[in-house]
Each structure stands twice: as C-alpha cells, then as structure tokens.
Subunit: 399 residues, 2 copies
C-alpha cells in the first residue's frame, strides 16, 4: 500500500536526468538525494546532494544511509559499491554490468532472440581486419564508457585499423603484448530508414509497461529531435514493441529502460542499445504522456503502482546543445519565441558551462492546437536558441 | 531578452504554493529562495530557504540579498518590509495592502465598477445591527487575516451580535471604549447558483492574460473541487472574464491574481475576493493548461513573455484535506487507485502534520480519454485517500 510522504530515493548521478527525477519526485511526496562529484550539479536545486565520485564506495555508503532505495541515472555507477550497502537497488546492479558493456549487452539480447546488427569482439588489429572482412564497413565501438558517439569510429576495408583502435582505446594499452585487448566491438553498419526508441518499464510483481514508440533523429551520433508517434507504419511499431518486451524480459530489477532501435529499409527492427535509466528519447513524456518517464522510474523503483503510459497528444522534442566552439559560461538566449509559443515547454538543465554539443536543455512541443506539426515547430524554436553572444557573433570580435 | 540560467526569485512564504513555484522554476532555469518560519516547510525540498517570520524586516532583507526580484505566496507578507529592500517586488506591495483588507478591497473593486455583494463596515454591535437591518442575513468577516472561512460568521436578524463579533475579532478588544473597532465587514448573503474563479495575470509592458474560467465548489468555506470548463453558459463565462479584466486593471505590478466570483441564480457574476498570488482554484492548470499558474507567475514576476493560457483538455481537481479529528503525523494512504488511473496526477505538499481540514495535497484528473468525466473521477479518487489509520478506524482502538 502506497503512503505519503514517500520514502527517500538515493540516486547515483545528479545531471539533467537527476534534476528531472527531482522535479518529478516533489509532487509525489518523494525526497531525492543524489551523489555527484560536481558541487553545483544540475540536480542539486531540487534534491539534496552528497558530493563524491559515482564509484567511491564510502560516498555510495553515505548515500545509502540517507535512502530507502537506491537507483542510478548514469552508467558510471559501480555495481559492486551499490550491492555492498545492503539497501535495495533498482534496476538490479547486474543490469548495469550488462548494459555497461556493449559486447555483453549484444550477446545478451542475441541470446534473448532479439534481432540486432551482426557484431564481432575486437581486441586487436587482426580482429578488426577479420571483422571488416566478414561484415564490410563496421562501426568500431569501445565496449564501455562511450556516449553520444564518443568512443565510436567507422571503419571500412583498407582503413588504418591500428589508428581506428587508438580512437576507441586511446591509451594505446591494447598494443602491449600482455594487454587483455582493446576492449572493443565492431558492428555491421546498418542501412537504416529511421531510428526508433521506446521507454520500457518493469514495476513490482512483474508489472511491465511500454511508453509509445518514438522516432529519434541523430546527427553526429547525438540525439537532436524526437517525434511521437513515429513516421512509420503499424507493423514496424509493433516490431519495435516486441523488441522492447524481449529486452525487458532479459533485465533484472525494477525501473525504466531506454531502448534504441534501427528500422531498416525493408521494415525490420534491429536492437541498437539500451540504458537502464531515464533516457533522452523519453523526455517528451513529461508533457506528452499521462505519466513522465521520470515519475514512472520513481514509481517503479519504489514498488508503487506504475502510471498510465499513453500519449496525451502528438509531441516532439528538440535538444538544446551547446553551439559554442570552446567551453564558455552558459548563457542561453533566443528563447523568447519558444516561451510565448502554444504547447512549447522549455527545460533547462542548470549546467553552468556551455561546451560544444553539450546537452544544456531541451524544448518540447505538444500538438493538437492548430499551430502546426510539433516536430517542425520544435526544430524551428530550438534553432533560434543560442549560447553564442549575438553581438560577438555579428561583429566577429571578442569582447 | 530572456536568458538562461534565469535570475533568482525570492518568495515570502514557503507553503504548498512556494513548493509548486519551485517545481515550476526548475525547468525554467530559475532559482527560488523562500522565507518561511517553519524549518521543514513544504517548499524547502525544491528551493533554498531562509528560516524567519514573513514580516521580519531583517529576514526579508536577507531574502532580498539573495534575490533579483521578490514576490510572495502568502498575504501575511509585510508590504513595508518588502518595499524597504530596494529589490523589485511583484505584484506591487500596494496590491497586498488592498487585497489584505477585505473592506479596502471591496471599496476598490466597487470604484472600478465591478459588481459585488452589498457590504457595510462593522466596528461594533450597533454597526452590525444596522447592517443586518439594511441587508438581511449577512456574512460577518474579519477585514484581515481570515482564510478558508476562518474569521467568518453568518449573522441574521435577532442573532447575538456581540457574540458574532467575538467570532471574527476574538481578542475582545473591540469592546473597549478606546478601541478602533472590531475591524470587520458585513456582506449581504449571496444566493448563488455556483462559484467561479479565474487566474488572471499581468506581465511586463501591460501584457495581460486570463486562464480559462473554472468552477469551484466549497464546503464549510473550504475549496473542495474545481472543474474546467464550468457547468454554465457562455454569457456567464464572458461576464466572469469581464470582472477579472476590471480587477486586473485596478491592481499594480506584475504577477498572477486569483479572483473568486459568485454566479447568481439570475446569471449575474459578482466579485467575491481576490488574492495577488497563485491560488488553489488554479492548481488544475499544472496539467490542464498549456502553462501552469506557477510558471506564469514566475514569468510575470521576471518580466519574461507570458505563456499561453489555453486549456489542454477538460480538467478537474480535488483537494486532499486532513480528514483527522485532531492533529497527527501525516500519513496518507488510499492513493493506489489514483496512482494507476489514466489522467490522474497526485500532488503532495510535504506537510509533516495532518490537521482537521488542512490542505495536504490535491489530485488533478485530465479528461479526453474515455474514462469518464474528470470531476466525478477526481472526487471519487480523492475520497479514497485518507489520513486515518485504517486499522485504528476499523477497530475503534488507539494503537
């Protein structure tokens, strides 16, 4: 039986996902405490904060002291430290071991019968040469730690395989005779028609739910916009849902999981990757679904009843990325039109420094009001927002 | 030009209105600091807090030190202290002087040509006798400090006028020869068909906007439910909007104003009272309108563009009041059905103690999903929520 005030949820990580978890926690009567090394982290305006490294066992223990249940919003969380505290952790830290290693993750989904692009383990240049030989052009990826395209490198026949390995394993250790290897994998390039994503959730007592399928658009491997419903057919939507159900089956513990997929030109849906936490592709749910992915994650982690996941209306979101060449103090302008636009909702993550392509915020546009399609409106309104000082840009001079 | 991260807003008062302001501030990149005497006040999970009395000049000065602009969410804020800091205050403290005194407020709206129930100043039993003589049955009200029906007393011909004055001016000072009087007013009883409310807003540069008209239902003078749109005709809706526009004209400064009105049996709309702050009758806007009253208040106070005020869908809200006989530690149960219901949204205010009829939270239900009318669903779901320990209630024994 759910009672309020709710318990305290401890979160490893206090970035934008932690901040939006905090925004969702307050109306539910749930208190949040986050562990993050940055003293003024995005979440700290809406949560208590312990300043410490994500994987510092004593900091994790301190977090557990304050929490009734633990979760994480960053994959750098350390499964061992989390398990050691004795406080329940959701999703299960074992899930982090799987999704935190792209090779282990791919093997797990293949075992669960989920279709995915062909892939090979790559520990040295010979492995990579063989992979290219067998798969054609591949995306070489670091097994751990990569995000937003970092640690990824496209490789084709005749390329410099050693140089490619240096991109994904930059410390060069893989060259040493006694090294375990480059810890990489090579995935066959997918000629996809579009990318799809779904936020799935596992609740208490085996309860499962999926949020509606969304279409995601990436440039330079960074998510730029989402649009829901996706611009594809029902058969593809059902295939995507089937993939996510199978992925959920293979994971342990409670919580939301963001699953990214490819739709191929012949209408197949291939698993790409999964993250056992709220995901950028689900930010649209804050205004666009009956429950947000953040509220849903808290409900699941707490063992509360899951919320309804239906779409309220057609919805698009656009990321507000740092459009600067070098890091600078964050000052976003050009948002007046978005603030005045019907159905437009600005989300700021509280990061003090804008960096090139850093996720600084996002903009969601809901539809159904005769103002036009949410996707083009979101793109248009987001394009006007900038971290570049207008006067500097116009005159081309530094001040 | 609006830029993010936004400035810091200082708020006198950190109750549920402060908490919901904090929830609205975070996505906007606005920081909130509240002044409240209760160390663990509802707003302090989502805002910084200065612990101090609402009207303590040094505490208000401390708040101003941290803030770029000041506002208030409680009418106990002291206009003089606010003006003394030199930091801009919105709405204008002068507005607080008007709306904080029901007699001054009524005179002001009459001067602005707004229809309202007839009223008389009452300082002693003779005044009250004359008022009853002229107006028939009246509602005797304390001019200042009353809320949720406290400080109100219905009085008819032949009643004990002195006893009635003791209800609204309980210190008995009004009986003293040298006293200024009972500081009360008597209002003619209104035979109303229903009650209506509107959140109006004044922005920068004279910009004005109204949220849609909502219907409110009170019992024992405490708001229980709201339903939007109201169950009345267009002519009445337009009259209500006209009243609110006139009230906005009479107020100074920027911010939202909650205006409560009566619809009489012959379709007239009479002004009842106004509060220059977010108002209980506007909580439905969080999920039911394109901008919430809390976000709108922040935008207005900051001089940002106002947000669109249209309704997203039919929406109802129900207050979760303390259903206890005596104060007890707050523990709300019976919310599982609400948590699982489509379009239902639970809001908890973080108050640690449940008291009889205290506002502890609210529940909003949005419509348009074939689940039934939002109002009956909200009433039904809220009725299941209780602060009474089920086992105690069933056995009738204390544990």
């Amino acid at each position: 039986m759910t009672t309020l005030p709710g318990p305290t949820v401890g979160v490893v990580g206090g970035g934008q996902l932690g901040r939006m978890l905090g925004e969702a926690a307050s109306p539910l009567g749930v208190d949040l405490v986050v562990l993050d090394p940055t003293p003024d982290c995005p979440a700290n305006r809406v949560a208590n904060q312990i300043v410490g490294e994500f994987d510092d066992p004593s900091a994790v223990a301190e977090l557990a002291e304050l929490a009734d249940v633990l979760t994480y919003e960053i994959e750098l969380a350390d499964p061992g430290s989390l398990l050691d505290t004795g406080v329940p952790v959701h999703p299960a830290p074992e899930t982090l071991r799987v999704t935190g290693d792209k090779l282990v993750e791919k093997r797990a989904v293949v075992e669960a019968g989920v279709p995915t692009a062909d892939f090979r383990q790559v520990d040295d240049a010979d492995d990579l040469a063989r992979a290219v030989d067998e798969l054609g052009e591949v995306m070489l990826k670091a097994r751990t730690g990569g995000y937003d395209g970092r640690g990824n490198c496209p490789v084709g026949p005749g390329d410099d395989y050693e140089a490619a390995l240096d991109v994904v394993a930059p410390d060069g250790d893989w060259r040493r005779e006694d090294a375990a290897g480059a810890d990489a994998l090579a995935e066959a390039m997918v000629d996809f028609e579009r990318e799809l994503a779904v936020i799935g959730v596992r609740g208490a007592g085996g309860e499962r739910a999926l949020f509606p399928v969304t279409e995601t658009v990436h440039h330079e491997e960074i998510l730029r916009v989402t649009t829901t419903p996706p611009r594809t057919g029902n058969v593809v939507v059902e295939r995507a849902q089937s993939v996510v159900r199978d992925v959920l089956d293979g994971l342990e513990g409670r919580g939301v999981v963001g699953v990214e997929m490819f739709e191929t030109s012949d209408g197949k849906v291939l698993f790409n990757e999964a993250a056992p936490r709220p995901h950028n592709s689900g930010h649209w749910t804050i205004e666009g679904a009956h429950t947000s992915q953040f509220e849903q994650h808290l409900r699941a982690v707490l063992g509360w009843p899951l919320g309804p996941t239906q779409r309220r209306c057609e919805t698009a979101s656009a990321n507000l990325l740092g459009d600067v060449d070098v890091p600078k103090s964050a000052r976003l302008s050009g948002v007046d039109r978005a603030l005045g636009a019907t159905g437009a909702h600005l989300h700021w993550y509280g990061k003090r420094e804008a960096r090139p392509l850093r996720k600084m915020g996002h903009l969601t546009v809901t539809g159904g009001d005769d103002e036009g399609p949410p996707l083009s409106r979101a793109e248009d309104l987001a394009a006007a927002a900038t971290f570049v000082d207008k006067e500097t840009a116009e005159t081309g001079t530094e001040r």
